[in-house]
C-alpha cells in the first residue's frame, strides 16, 4: 500500500496548539457520549410514553402516537438534524430566533441531543407498542379485573413485562444511538466524527485516524450491548420464557 504509516501520530501535538491528537479524540469521545446518553434518556422517556399511548383504547391517543412515530421515522436523521438546526429557528419570533441562534448555551449539543432523541423515540415507541401487543390480552383484563385503573395496569403489569420483552430490540437501538450520534458533526458538535475530520485534516494520517475512531465507536456500541445484557440478566424473571413476537 502506497501509504505512509505513522502510529505515533496520536501522541504528537496538533499543528497549532499544545494538545495532542489523542486529546482531540478524547474530547470527541466525551461529546459523543454526552449527545448519545442525553438523546437515549429523552428517547426512552418519550418512546415508552408514546408507545404505551398507541396501545390504549382511545382512538385520539393512538392517532397522536401514530403521527409522532410516522413523523420522526420517515425522514433520514441527517436531514432532520439540518431541519432542526437551520429551519426550525426561522419559524420562531425574531427575538427567540436570535436567542436560539446566538445565545442559547451549547446550542449545537442541545439541538443534536433533541433531534437524535426524538428520532430514536419513534423507533422505541414502535418497539414498545409491539411489546405490549405481544402480551396476552388476558394480562390487561386480569389487572383491570382486580380493580387497578388503566394507568395503574400499565405501570404495574403491562409495561414491566413489555419492556422485558423488548430488551433485545432496545439493545440494538441503544447501539444505534451511539452510531447515529456521528451525524451530529453535521451541525458542528465537536464529537468523534468531527474530531476525526479535524485530525485527519491536520495530521494527514487519515487511515490511522479513522481506524482509531472506528474502534472507539465499536467500543461504545459494544459497551452499550454488554450494559443492556447486564440489565436483561438482572431483570430476568425465573421461570419466565420471554414470550415475544
Amino acid at each position: 500500500m502506497n501509504y505512509h504509516w505513522n502510529w505515533g501520530i496520536f501522541l504528537e501535538p496538533v499543528k497549532s496548539g499544545d494538545e495532542t491528537y489523542l486529546d482531540w479524540l478524547i474530547t470527541g469521545l466525551g461529546w459523543t457520549l454526552a449527545v448519545s446518553l442525553t438523546a437515549w434518556l429523552l428517547a426512552l422517556t418519550i418512546g415508552i410514553a408514546v408507545g404505551a399511548l398507541r396501545t390504549t383504547p382511545s382512538r385520539l391517543l393512538v392517532g397522536l402516537g401514530n403521527v409522532w412515530v410516522e413523523l420522526f421515522r420517515n425522514v433520514p436523521l441527517l436531514v432532520q438534524m439540518f431541519l432542526w438546526f437551520f429551519v426550525v429557528p426561522e419559524f420562531l419570533p425574531r427575538d427567540w430566533s436570535l436567542w436560539v441562534k446566538q445565545e442559547m448555551p451549547a446550542k449545537e449539543f442541545v439541538t443534536a441531543a433533541i433531534c437524535l432523541g426524538l428520532f430514536t423515540s419513534a423507533r422505541i415507541a414502535e418497539q414498545v407498542r409491539a411489546g405490549v401487543g405481544s402480551l396476552p390480552r388476558g394480562q390487561r383484563d386480569a389487572a383491570l379485573a382486580l380493580g387497578l385503573t388503566l394507568p395503574q395496569a400499565y405501570r404495574q403489569v403491562i409495561l414491566p413485562q413489555a419492556l422485558r420483552i423488548v430488551i433485545p430490540p432496545l439493545t440494538s437501538e441503544f447501539m444505534n444511538v451511539f452510531k447515529n450520534s456521528s451525524v451530529a458533526f453535521a451541525i458542528g458538535v465537536l464529537e468523534l466524527t468531527f474530531q476525526a475530520r479535524q485530525m485527519q485534516e491536520d495530521s494527514e494520517q487519515g487511515i490511522e485516524t479513522y481506524l482509531a475512531v472506528t474502534l472507539l465507536y465499536f467500543i461504545c456500541a459494544f459497551t452499550a450491548n454488554r450494559g443492556m445484557a447486564w440489565i436483561e440478566a438482572r431483570t430476568r424473571v425465573p421461570g419466565l420464557i420471554a414470550r415475544s413476537g
Binding site: 421515522r73 420517515n74 433520514p76 431541519l83 429551519v87 456521528s182 466524527t193 479513522y210 456500541a221
Partner: protein, 220 residues
C-alpha cells in the same frame, strides 16, 4: 435568511429524479442481496457447526457496532486492495450496503426462524422430509411471512440510510438536492424538498407494509 424561495424546486427536479433512481436502485439491490445473504448468515448462525456459527456471529456483531458512514468509507478504501483494481463509488456503495444490511437482515431472519414453533420442524421430520427440505418448504416460508413487516421496515431504514453515500461521493437524491441547493444558494429549500420526498416515500411504504401485513399474515 428570512423569506424562503421555493422556485428552485422546479429546475432541481431532473437531478432529484436521477438521484432518486440511484437511491431506489441501491435500495432494491441491497435489499434483495441483503435478504439472501442475510438468510444464509442466519442459517450459519443457527447451524450446529460451532466455528461457522461463531464466524457469522462475529461478522454480524462487527457490522452492527460500527456507524454505517464509516463502513461505507472503509469498504471504499479497502475494496481496491481486495479486487486489485479500483471500483466506482456506485459499485462500492452497492457492495457495502448489501454486505452491511445482510447483517441486519440476518438478525431478522434468525428471529423469524426461531419464531416458528419447534413442533413444525418435528412435524416436517416426522413426515420424512430431510433437513434441507424442511428448511426450504416448511420453516423458511413461515419465517419469511412472519418477518415480512420487519424486513420491510428495515428496508425503509435502508432507504433512508442511502443518504450517507455522500461520504464517498456517489450521487443519491440528497446529494443531488444538496448540489442544486448550493448552485442556487437555496440549501434550506432543497433540504425541505428532500425531507418531503423522503417522508412521502417512506410513509407510503410503511402504509403499504401495513396493508401487506394484513394480506400475507398467516392465518392462525
Amino acid at each position: 435568511m428570512g423569506e424562503f424561495d421555493f422556485s428552485v424546486w422546479g429546475p432541481s427536479l431532473p437531478f432529484i429524479r436521477d438521484g432518486l433512481l440511484f437511491t431506489l436502485r441501491l435500495t432494491l439491490v441491497a435489499m434483495s442481496g441483503g435478504i439472501v445473504i442475510g438468510t444464509l448468515l442466519a442459517l450459519a448462525r443457527l447451524s450446529p457447526i460451532v466455528p461457522l456459527a461463531r464466524l457469522a456471529g462475529a461478522y454480524v456483531d462487527l457490522m452492527r457496532s460500527i456507524p454505517l458512514v464509516l463502513v461505507i468509507l472503509w469498504f471504499f478504501l479497502v475494496i481496491p486492495y481486495i479486487t486489485g483494481s479500483p471500483v466506482g463509488a456506485e459499485t462500492s456503495a452497492i457492495i457495502t450496503f448489501t454486505a452491511f444490511e445482510a447483517a441486519f437482515y440476518c438478525e431478522i431472519m434468525r428471529s423469524g426462524i426461531q419464531s416458528v414453533p419447534r413442533g413444525q420442524l418435528n412435524a416436517a421430520h416426522a413426515l420424512g422430509l430431510g433437513r434441507a427440505q424442511s428448511m426450504i418448504h416448511v420453516i423458511l416460508p413461515q419465517a419469511l411471512r412472519n418477518m415480512l413487516p420487519v424486513l420491510l421496515t428495515q428496508t425503509i431504514v435502508l432507504f433512508q440510510d442511502t443518504s450517507l453515500v455522500y461520504a464517498i461521493g456517489a450521487k443519491d437524491m440528497l446529494k443531488a438536492a444538496d448540489v442544486v441547493g448550493k448552485n442556487y444558494n437555496r440549501p434550506v429549500e432543497m433540504i425541505v424538498l428532500s425531507a418531503l420526498i423522503y417522508f412521502a416515500i417512506c410513509f407510503s411504504l410503511s402504509l403499504a407494509v401495513k396493508q401487506l401485513q394484513k394480506r400475507v399474515a398467516i392465518i392462525r
